[in-house]
């Protein structure tokens, strides 16, 4: 049998291409060693057909003795045993011998070859010197044998005969001939490969193309293609060999798929047979002959075929140093097989596939471990872990199937099943029979007992988990952990299970996978219930009760768990505290009033919106919010800075994470910044040192995010221990029923003490269970403030005008003070501002929200000193408003502040008047002193009134006659009617003031003036000082009921009497009828004393002359301000006037008109000259420097006097020129102006006609 011959070849795996050797066997044997050694030394390039890349291969050969049986018979496709080259060895050098025997032998050999159509042969002729020496008889040249052979056998193929010279000698010739031989052999071998393999491949393809024909068998084809694979493997072309298997694999897969699609192949029927053996892969043998045989026989099951195929692939891959591909392919294979069996509807008993997969996984892993060291294995966990996990999975399902996982152990049914499964494993293979850890032994042991199963299962699970963790596949590790937990749960070990579940839950929660979260959490709940961890169980139950992923029934169940626990009135020393977030969420908080700032004692309501997550309504015994109280350092003012960050007034919205799981996108964006302003004040003087903005929640904002994992969600795995802080104030509501969904609960907040109240925690009590919200965030606070009563007075209309009744508004903010019945404001009356009694004065009481609460009539009682206003009872923190009419009297004196000192000494009572920068009106600050019932101190308030008028007076004279003019200017914005204008003199009864004014009312418009004039007449003597009072009545123009108010203006006139009369005359130059411009005219000034000197005057500034006559000195000055006149010579001088009535002094001054026309007279000013009172009389220089020096100085003062100033001089006989007697004192003499009216100028505003000069000016007019 052929196979008998083949079998040893295949087994040894020392497969080499077969080369037959014929001819001289002893010769060959002598050369065999060096030939076998040297043939593979040099690589040869193998050029391939079908465009395959050329390869360098090292050729080896298995030299066997030529036998005819070795030549393949017709139709035998076996390649492995195919002789690729036939060599004939001969060392014949003797023609005779050649002719006699060798040729014949060769002929026979050739014929045999030809009959098997084998053309791959070579004849090697070995030449040795020894043979030459020995055979001396050799006549022919030695080459002749070779030539003969060539001519005999190598028809046109001279290269088929090779000469090897001196093969055993160490000479260069020998070496060359060796090389030539080897090259020849290699070339011929390759040629043979190419030719024979090509032919084989062609045949194979032809066979494959027949696959659609009926009767085609995959198994047959398999054997053919595998033959090719074997050859490639033999040639060390593992890649090519693998390709063959992969092609077979793909072909088979396609057939299975086609089967699934309804395209059935007959041969596939054998693979659809029920699986009876599931012994797993066998990778320890290079070729599993058992399986190969069954394939060849067409008896292999699908698993057999797959196993065999894979074992071959595995072998080649390991040859190719690609062990990790093995693992990957293994996993694919296992999955694929399971699928294929399913697809082909192969009947398999339960668990058989699990066994097969389990064994296969372990076998692959063992195989890999066998060819890699530990470091390599550790580094490539990612390739093996899948197999580990798969094996774990399968073992677990096997365990479940065989009742090894349950608490009670396997039932008899389970045991039967186990026996069936074990039977399918068959006997252990001989390869592993001695190994202690073979997959076969493991499975058998694991299925043998509960304990062994647990051991093996745990071992595998932990291995898988560790590997997953090592390569960073944490999710996968946790999933294995979860499955481990399920195992523990089934084994009744919830404690260990919980650890794994919590771990997994943490990951699901942090990544927001709600469905796994719910599922895992439900498992945890089960654990916790079994473990009796009440608090944790209740917490988890609460989470589950509010979990929308569960059905309502389940949720109700978990809710009921809590409620029934809560209902148990056991002797729990402390209540179970749970996090509130899982029970109900605080979504909104609203303050009433919205400002969240109330005065102490007021009602503040806090409305909470709680979203209850429970599926049923829950009755809560108590809902309490704890409050932290801070005494407000900002004082009692309250309403300081609003630190509350509110989107809506008085409403705080609480953002919540997603209900059950899953980070809300807003949470992923990070918390919002909470900024606050800080001010740093120096402790000593409270000055601002620095200001800044501080972020209050840095710890949240700055928290580092690890690997982009979403931030913590409120529904953490193990809720933080929450504790309700006791003490402090609480908002409490008893007995609330929370319906599922939003609930509104209203608290009344305490507002006793002023300060800031911060809501810290929220606690709902249900029987023995407390749900606590440990931290209300963002922080919510409200303020309670306390306020001192405040009284303000403000004008009802601006500005307040003095002299008229004006309404002022009194506003009393009661603050914390309650106005009781009988409380009254006591206003100290002042003379300057009486309070006008009014019959109906209504007080309005309004609440803090500016709502009108009540109105009542005030009773106002005025006594001499105080005005008492009885206040109506008013509750605290209300505003009381009423209006009073007051009148500020216009101070009757001159409104010039400079004159005020003339009045009596009680300055302090007089309101200070001043000119206000904003208004032309004079302002008066009027102070009020009010005694309030809540304070022992008087409240001082000031009102500013404005005087609407400005009054000026002036004295006008005409000779001795005197007129008094009063100008009233309205500086206010109102128009008034003026009536009863009157001027009275207080002291002198004899004085009569005759009015020139209209009797009727006069209109005094805004910003306009009214002038009034009186002539003063007297009988005896005009008093030098007049005390006048101007009085008028006025009322606003637009007021119908003309309530005229008096207006007084007091003034004083002094030195009223006319002392001197000055008269001037201008004379034209001599011989001229008129003055002419440019010609000097004469100006005659006569100063006349009109009255006898009074006593005062005598004493004051007169001196007795040497002749006993009283005289006084006057200074005169001619000045022409408008440059009409040029004064020729002295313009000023001194005259000595005798103090006597009608004394006249005349002065002659030359003046020259500068223009023609009616020119006003030059001005003549007269001044009082007050010499220094020195005793020594020194003859003064006629041209006294004093006069000239002081002139410029005088000019100004004189100009200021105005037009009405008349210049008179006391009667003096001395001319200017004779004023020699002027004393020159050591000190400077003084000049003093006369007061208004003392000097009357007769020629004031008189004019003189001046003619132009005779020769007219030539005017040149150029017209162009």
């Amino acid at each position: 049998m052929e196979s008998q011959e083949e079998t040893p070849i295949i087994y040894t795996m020392e497969n080499k291409p077969i080369v037959t050797c014929a001819g001289d066997q002893s010769l060959f044997t002598s050369l065999y060693t060096s030939l076998a050694q040297q043939l593979p030394r040099e690589p040869m390039e193998w050029r391939r057909t079908y465009g395959r890349a050329p390869k360098m291969i090292h050729l080896e050969a298995n030299f066997v003795q030529f036998k005819e049986e070795l030549l393949p018979k017709e139709g035998n496709k076996a390649l492995l045993t195919f002789p690729f080259l036939h060599i004939y060895w001969t060392d014949c050098c003797d023609t005779e011998t050649y002719k006699s025997s060798v040729k014949e032998d060769m002929m026979r050999w050739q014929n045999t070859l030809r009959s098997h159509s084998s053309a791959d042969w070579v004849i090697i002729v070995v030449e040795t010197n020894d043979t030459k020496k020995n055979k001396k008889t050799n006549i022919l040249p030695r080459s002749s044998i070779v030539d003969k052979i060539r001519s005999d056998f190598c028809n046109k193929q001279n290269d088929r005969c090779v000469v090897l010279s001196d093969p055993l000698k160490d000479s260069s010739r020998s070496l060359d001939s060796w090389n030539a031989l080897l090259l020849k052999l290699r070339t011929l071998l390759l040629m043979s490969f190419t030719k024979n393999l090509g032919r084989f491949e062609d045949d194979m393809r032809t066979l494959r193309e027949k696959r659609t024909q009926p009767g085609w068998s995959f198994c047959e084809y398999f054997m053919v293609q595998e033959e090719l694979a074997f050859v490639f493997e033999m040639l060390q072309q593992f890649e090519d060999a693998l390709v063959q298997y992969d092609e077979l694999d793909a072909l088979f897969t396609q057939y299975v798929l086609n089967f699934g699609a309804g395209d059935t192949a007959n041969w596939l029927g054998s693979f659809c047979a029920p699986v009876r053996n599931w012994s797993g892969l066998l990778l320890r043998r290079p070729i599993d002959m058992e399986k190969r045989d069954s394939i060849q026989r067409g008896e292999a099951s699908l698993l057999d075929l797959r196993s065999y195929l894979f074992s071959r692939q595995c072998t080649l891959l390991i040859f190719l140093q690609r062990p990790w591909e093995v693992t990957q392919r293994a996993l694919e294979l296992l999955h694929n097989c399971v699928q294929e069996l399913r697809l082909l509807e192969v009947s398999v008993i339960d668990g058989a596939l699990d066994c097969w997969v389990f064994l296969s996984c372990l076998e692959v892993l063992h195989r890999i471990e066998g060819c890699c060291d530990q470091a390599q294995l550790a580094a490539n966990c990612s390739h093996t872990v899948g197999l580990w996990a798969y094996a774990t999975d399968k073992l677990k399902s096997l365990g479940e199937l065989c009742g090894l996982v349950s608490k009670n152990g396997p039932t008899s049914e389970d045991l039967n099943r186990t026996v069936d499964l074990l039977a399918g494993l068959g006997d252990e293979r001989p390869e592993t029979i001695n190994s202690l850890q073979s997959p076969y032994k493991k499975l058998k042991e694991a299925l043998s007992s509960v304990e062994a199963f647990e051991k093996h299962y745990l071992e595998l699970s932990h291995a898988a988990m560790e590997m997953y963790q090592a390569i960073g596949r944490l999710r996968s590790a946790r999933l294995v952990g979860k499955s481990l937990a399920e195992f523990y749960m089934a084994k009744g070990d919830p404690e260990r299970a919980e650890t794994f579940l919590q771990e997994a839950l943490k990951s699901y929660v942090s990544e927001g996978w709600s469905l796994p979260v719910t599922h895992t959490r439900r498992q945890i709940a089960e654990c916790q219930k079994l473990l009796g961890r009440t608090e944790d169980y209740l917490q988890t139950s609460a989470l589950l009760a509010g979990d929308g992923n569960l059905s309502t029934e389940e949720r109700k169940h978990f809710c009921q768990e809590i409620l029934s626990f809560a209902g148990k009135s056991e002797n729990h020393s402390h209540k179970v505290t749970l996090s509130m977030n899982v029970f109900a969420q605080l979504t909104r908080l609203q303050f009433h009033p919205a400002t969240a700032s109330v005065h102490s004692g007021a009602v503040l309501q806090v409305e909470l919106t709680l979203r209850c997550l429970m599926p049923v309504s829950v009755r809560i015994q108590q809902l309490a919010a704890s409050i932290h109280f801070d005494i407000d350092h900002g004082g009692t003012h309250g309403r300081s800075k609003g630190t509350l960050r509110r989107t809506n007034r008085g409403t705080v919205e609480f953002k919540q994470g997603n209900s059950s799981a899953g980070p809300a996108s807003s949470a992923a964006a990070g918390p919002t910044l909470e900024m606050d302003e800080i001010q740093d004040r120096s402790p000593s003087d409270n000055s601002l040192a620095s200001v800044g903005v501080v972020c209050k929640n840095t710890h949240l904002v700055m928290r580092r995010r690890e690997n982009g994992s979403p931030p913590e969600t409120p529904n953490c795995v193990s809720p933080p221990t929450v504790a309700m802080k006791e003490g402090g104030q609480m908002l409490k509501v008893q007995d609330v029923k929370l319906e599922p969904g939003n609930n509104s609960i209203t608290f009344t907040a305490p507002s006793g003490q002023p300060g800031t109240y911060t809501l810290r925690q929220l606690c709902a009590t249900v029987g023995e269970v407390q749900f606590v919200l440990s931290h209300i965030y963002p922080s919510v606070r409200y303020e309670v403030y306390s306020q001192e009563p405040q009284l303000t007075v403000e004008p009802l209309s601006e500005p307040l005008l003095a002299g008229m009744p004006q309404l002022v508004k009194f506003t009393l903010l009661t603050g914390h003070y309650t106005v009781k019945k009988g409380d009254a404001l006591q206003l100290s009356n002042t003379e300057t501002m009486p309070i006008l009694p009014s019959s109906s004065c209504t007080a309005r009481i309004s609440s803090p929200d500016a709502e009108l609460v009540g109105e009542s009539v005030l009773s106002i009682q005025s006594s001499e000193k105080v005005t008492s206003i009885s206040l109506p009872p008013t509750p605290p923190y209300h505003a009381l408003e009423f209006q009073l009419e007051v009148l500020c009297l216009i101070p009757s004196g001159s409104d010039r502040p400079a004159n005020e000192r003339l009045t009596n000494g009680e300055v302090r009572h007089r309101p200070r008047s001043y000119s206000h920068p904003d208004t032309p009106m004079t302002a008066i600050d009027q102070r009020m002193s009010i005694d309030c019932p809540w304070s022992i101190y008087s409240t001082l308030l000031a009102l500013t009134f404005y005087i609407p008028f400005k009054t000026k007076h002036s004295l006008l004279s005409s000779g001795n006659r005197k007129y008094i003019q009063v100008c009233v200017q309205n500086v206010s914005d109102m128009s008034f009617t003026l009536a009863d204008v009157k001027l009275t003199e207080k002291q002198h009864e004899s004085l009569e003031l005759q009015s020139f004014n209209t009797k009727t009312n006069q209109l005094l418009c805004s910003k306009h003036s009214v002038f009034c004039l009186w002539e003063a007449r007297w009988k005896d003597d005009l008093p030098s000082c007049l005390q006048c009072v101007f009085s008028a009545n006025f009322c606003p123009l637009n007021q119908e009921s003309c309530a005229f108010k008096p207006f007084h203006y007091q003034f004083q006139l002094e030195r009223v009497t006319t002392l001197y009369s000055v008269k001037a005359e201008i004379f034209p130059p001599a011989g001229e009828p008129h003055c002419r411009s440019g010609l000097v005219c004469g100006l005659e000034v006569s100063i006349t004393r009109l009255i006898e000197p009074s006593d005062g005057e005598m004493a004051e500034d007169s001196k007795t002359d040497t002749d006993g006559l009283k005289t006084t000195k006057l200074m005169y000055e001619v000045a022409d301000s408008s440059s009409n006149w040029a004064v020729c010579g002295k313009s000023s001088g001194m005259v000595v006037m005798p103090l006597k009535a009608n004394a006249t002094h005349k002065l002659q001054i030359e003046v020259m008109p500068l223009f023609a026309g009616h020119l006003p007279f030059p001005k003549i000013k007269v001044l009082k000259y007050l010499p220094h009172n020195a005793a020594a009389a020194i003859q003064p220089d006629p041209d006294s420097c004093v006069e000239n020096d002081s002139l410029s100085l005088l000019d100004k003062t004189l100009d200021d006097q105005g037009d009405t100033a008349s210049i008179r001089s006391r009667g003096s006989i001395h001319s200017v020129g004779s004023s020699d007697q002027q004393q020159r004192g050591v000190a400077m003499p003084r000049l003093e102006a006369f007061s208004q009216g003392q000097v009357f100028n007769n020629s004031h505003s008189q004019q003189v006609l001046v003619l132009p000069t005779a020769d007219d000016h030539i005017m040149e007019v150029n017209a162009t």
């Binding site: 699928q339 399913r342 697809l343 899948g386 798969y390 996968s476 980070p663 996108s665 994992s709």
Partner: protein, 139 residues
């Protein structure tokens, strides 16, 4: 056709996950969640070699006995996962790719919606329709 299609945010929480109603939804959640391990592995491996000219399609993430899980990651690190029944052998790699492309286009439309807040669960009807078209029809 797919049995489960999931869109997973950059932060690895699901934006959208839908599976055929006939099978256990929970199992798919676990499968998709676990597949993120491989997605991360693949994405980081890709990032090392070629940063910009990146293939969005990650290929087969891992096969299980019953399912094949394919992955795809957008440039904004949003992951698409398609789970296909292992028995469904008619699906080729190219078909999976085109499914992902279709999914990506529809997802882009969702993102372009000014009323959609990136990071929120996808509720778009159009997207749902596209997904439905790719799912196994169980009628």
């Amino acid at each position: 056709m797919a049995v489960c299609i999931a869109v997973i945010a950059k932060e690895n929480y699901p934006l959208y996950i839908r599976s055929v109603p006939s099978q256990n939804e929970l199992k798919f959640h676990y499968t998709v969640h676990t597949s993120l391990d491989v997605v991360e592995e693949k994405v980081s491996a890709v990032g090392k070699s070629l940063a910009d000219q990146r293939e969005l399609y990650l290929g087969l993430l891992y096969p299980t006995e019953d399912y094949k899980v394919y992955g795809y990651v957008t440039n904004s690190k949003v992951k698409f996962v398609i789970v296909v029944d292992s028995s469904n052998t008619s699906l080729r790699d190219n078909e999976i790719r085109s499914m992902f492309r279709k999914l990506h286009n529809s997802f882009t439309d969702v993102m372009c919606n000014p009323f959609y807040n990136p990071g929120d669960p996808i509720l778009s009807k159009a997207f749902n329709g596209i997904v439905s078209g790719m799912m196994v029809q169980t009628s």
